[in-house]
Symmetry: C2
Subunit: 142 residues, 2 copies
Amino acid sequence: MSPQETEIHQCIDAWLQALRGKQLARMLADYDERIVVFDVKPPFQIRGQAAIRQHWEESLPCFPDEFDYERRDARILHSGDLAVAHWIFHIVGWPAGHPAAQMWMRATVVLERREGRWCSVHEHVSVPFDPENGRPVGDPGR
Amino acid sequence: MSPQETEIHQCIDAWLQALRGKQLARMLADYDERIVVFDVKPPFQIRGQAAIRQHWEESLPCFPDEFDYERRDARILHSGDLAVAHWIFHIVGWPAGHPAAQMWMRATVVLERREGRWCSVHEHVSVPFDPENGRPVGDPGR
């Protein structure tokens, strides 16, 4: 793994560690001011640091008090000052019977390096939905 | 715009033109063999050229005979041999009353340059869903 790929892994891992700890300031530290987020839930798109801060302030209290973040099928693509990572994941720790307990999601994260530091410029998190019944499909099928 | 950014725009525009014409062979020509697609509808993830071919073979007949693809808020990020484009869009041409007629979607496309030619290595297309009622939200809110 190249030194830059190590940095990219560390950037993503640090963000996930901040999420697990619900450490909002640490989560926000790596967002570029021009971040555009397509999240699994509304709003339709979130543009800029102030909007993503508000989104996380509202979203973090909905997470379980303690949880884990299980990733699969991660891939990182990298060239020059741009990197893309994608994976599938689910949150482990919802109470039994919670609607999100069995839901897997898909994540794409785009990082840019500015002055030697990787920051997030775009994130896209979603579940597919079944056009037959309009319901989300959170089963990765394995 | 740099020559490479012009190439990236042309690659995306050519793919959209092929989609409008339902020209499957042209659509598939720019997919890398290791493509991973997170589409708006199941399957949860689509891995590789054969799987994406089957997905489009099943999906294209569901599109209107004639349609347009309206994009907004497009942004392209580029460094070295990697490029990311994201935008929001909707398909214009569904019959009135069709469930998809008013639905906007979010798209993220990742391109890699191989031997001077840009090809798609990852795509993520989705709508957010409302956790209160489990329904997709296809309104960009403007």
